[in-house]
């Protein structure tokens, strides 16, 4: 019903279909003012433009050619009760809700596809509620930056164990809602392994709290309805995560140049299946290695590890790495000075300044951009996918001459497989409005198609967002039924992040393939 009722910034106010009253943006703002103070409602035009998309459309955004509708307002609730009021109001009036926290989304998850929408930003819910070092857990509100919690924990000798590249910027609401993963995941796991309990609000205003226990068997694990929902089912207001003891003095670094990416993947597998859990375990293709390790890569793929934890475990992990390397020594070109790996490790993350600099660069200097697409598969298929993708891009992609970089790396390994992070950048020889259709989309499409063909998952840790929603059904197969039923149950009016995860043909035509 909702999509048929919207017309030029107006929408239906009442759920009763026979009594449809058109709601305007002004009506929405007036409604919000009844629930929130003025300081909690942001109507700044620049901020609203910025809130209509995310880093997926970073070039178009920088060039001021975004075609996605601006939200009517950005609101900053102070607690779950205010979130409840806001969602209930939106639910009753068919207002699209975009849940936002750290703004580091890269897949269109923060992009708005509706004429009538608001962004619910978690910035005011920014308190660390409890750090419990005896029970090894910390509770934070959704707007707490990961860096802030980790800094507090480090003062006490603990860590979150979570370290995505966006760590200095990302906040807990977004980390949980996108099923984020950190660079030390092989040891600590993804966010889904860290979340103990949480609080979230559903579109009908209901507030749910999932309690914090060490384990449970009370039916299906309902945390996973919330973790990774990308703001399409509910709004996360509070999270409790595991914490870990921090042993930085025991860190050991290992680096190798390898003959080919297969060798690197084989060594990763050997280490992991033998039961070792290095915090960092990566293999870079030679092209990707050039970006990060130009000073020592010598034209070869790079394999690297970091072992951490208590002294004995770090030592044993290091020995396990050396054993695995020895087993595949025919594929090892040479060992790299561990100090070089340590130096790289200490400069891994990007900050808000890096994001701002990238945007300013796009404004000032027409024209270069780059993206990553992250997938996963079992050990047997990961390199098949890698080569298949690279071959197809090199032979099929019509703008291959504009590519300035095409490669990838594996950076998160599991007992049964690993991920592949495809990395590509290009000179933009087109209008900014067409950049994604000419460059990113065809490349990403090849990556998704090949991954699904070999039985992998099309998204490892960025979330589905908007563009990849076209393949959500294929990703899940017969299990899509379960996903669909969740949406029907928790968001029957379809107000939560319209177009993310769940494919919406009208939005795909208007804002992705831009059908004329």
């Amino acid at each position: 019903m909702a999509s048929n009722c919207f017309n030029g910034g107006s929408a239906v106010v009442n759920v009763a279909k026979e009594e449809m009253i058109m709601m305007t943006r002004e009506d929405v703002i007036d409604g919000l003012k009844k629930m929130l103070t003025e300081s909690q409602i942001n109507l700044d035009p620049e901020e609203l433009y910025d809130a209509s998309a995310d880093r997926y459309k970073k070039f178009a955004m920088a060039k001021k050619v975004l075609d996605t509708p601006e939200p009517a307002a950005i609101v900053y609730p102070n607690n779950a009760e205010e979130v409840s009021l806001i969602l209930k109001f939106c639910n009753e009036n068919h207002i699209n809700v975009i849940a936002r926290s750290g703004k580091t989304a890269t897949e269109g998850g923060l992009e708005n596809w509706k004429d009538l929408a608001i962004v619910v930003d978690s910035s005011n819910m920014n308190k660390i509620l409890k750090i419990d070092t005896y029970n090894m857990q910390a509770t934070v509100q959704a707007g707490v930056p990961l860096q802030e919690l980790d800094d507090e924990l480090r003062k006490l000798g603990y860590t979150t164990g979570h370290s995505p590249q966006s760590k200095p910027v990302a906040k807990y609401g977004g980390l949980v809602s996108t099923r984020s993963i950190g660079q030390f995941s092989t040891l600590y796991g993804g966010i889904e392994d860290m979340v103990i309990g949480l609080e979230c609000v559903f579109p009908d205003g209901h507030i749910s709290r999932i309690k914090n226990v060490s384990r449970r068997a009370g039916g299906p694990d309902i945390r996973h309805i919330v973790i990774g929902n990308e703001g399409t089912l509910c709004y996360i207001t509070e999270v409790t995560v595991k914490i870990f003891k921090y042993y930085p003095d025991n860190n050991r670094f290992y680096g190798y140049l390898v003959k080919d990416i297969e060798t690197g993947i084989k060594v990763l597998r050997e280490v992991v299946v033998n039961g070792y859990r290095p915090s960092v375990a990566r293999t870079y293709s030679e092209e990707d290695a050039r970006q990060h390790f130009e000073h020592f890569y010598k034209g070869y793929p790079v394999l690297l590890f970091m072992a951490e934890g208590p002294k004995g475990i770090a030592k044993a992990t290091g020995e396990g790495i050396e054993e695995a390397v020895e087993k595949f020594k025919d594929g090892i070109v040479e060992q790299v000075d561990s100090k070089l790996i340590q130096e790289w490790f200490e400069h891994l993350n990007w900050s808000q300044k890096d994001i701002d600099d990238e945007r300013q660069g796009m404004i000032d200097h027409y024209r270069h951009s780059g993206y990553t697409t992250e997938i996963s598969a079992d050990w047997e298929n990961i390199t098949k996918i890698y080569h298949s993708v690279i071959d197809r891009i090199r032979t099929e992609y019509p703008r291959v001459e504009d590519l300035t970089m095409l490669g990838g790396h594996s950076s998160h390994s599991y007992i049964n497989g690993t991920n592949m992070y495809f990395v590509y950048s290009y000179n933009i020889n087109c209008e900014p409005e067409d950049e994604l259709m000419i460059y990113h989309h065809p490349i990403q499409q090849i990556i998704v198609e090949e991954t699904l063909r070999f039985g992998g998952s099309m998204c490892h840790h960025h979330g589905i967002g908007k563009y990849r929603s076209q393949w959500t059904k294929e990703e899940h197969g017969s299990a899509y039924y379960m996903l669909e039923k969740l949406k029907e149950a928790f968001d029957p009016e379809g107000i939560m992040n319209y177009g993310s995860i769940f494919p919406k043909e009208d939005g795909i035509k208007a804002y992705i393939i831009k059908e004329q």
């Binding site: 087109c430 209008e431 409005e433 000419i438 831009k514």
Partner: protein, 268 residues
Amino acid sequence: MKIIALVKFLPDVDSFEYDHEKNVLIRNNHTLILNADDAKALGFALQMKKADPSIDVEVVTMGPLSVTEQMHDLIRRGADRGTLISDHMFAGSDTYVTARILGKYIRTCEPDLILCGCETLDGGTAHIPAQLAEVLDLPLVAGIVSADTKSLPEKLICQVPWNGELLTAEVFLPAVAAINREGAFRLPFVRYFNIGKDVSDRFRVVSNEELGFLKEETGLAGSKTKVARTRAVEPEAPSQERLVVDDLQEGVEAVYRFLLEKGVLADE
């Protein structure tokens, strides 16, 4: 409002050939590229059209039939139509004859504004804008780097560098306006939905059959100027200097001095 954007396709420097007996460029069967000044002129025309879609932009060139696909590409970039003036009789024409040929065609179109580049990379004479204005008996403003279009279609207000300053010039239309290579205009790319689009119905070739020049009026025979002599100029190799230092600080200072000298860094 109707705009004609004149463009010229030049031999690519990598496939440059010259007929030393006739002293003319061999244009057929070689890669030709769009002259940089003309790209800016067409960019300005399309910028105006983007702001006011009712403006009609016709891109016109004179050259061999081999530029047909490149003309199609310019239509895909946003021009309403393209016209290629091509006839074997026109080969070897100097700027005087070229201006007469262009002028005869343009007169039939009755444009409000004729945009072109100031000069071409191959000739560099900058004759055409002035000669064309003379042929058409229109005012000329040349060297435009930016423009204000708010007074269109009555007049064009534009900025022209002059003795180290930027002059504002106003010219009543119809007129010929020549755009400087440094102009603040950008030739747009072909939009996604126009890539590979068939635009042949918006392109035509005009030959001497339509223009009706006598044989002795065009080509080498009609040209008032002759190339007396040509010589190949080898580009100078860029100078290189290798400086090896033992001390890091000394190295940093050497690089700093070098960047200062080259103007990359400003002296405090």
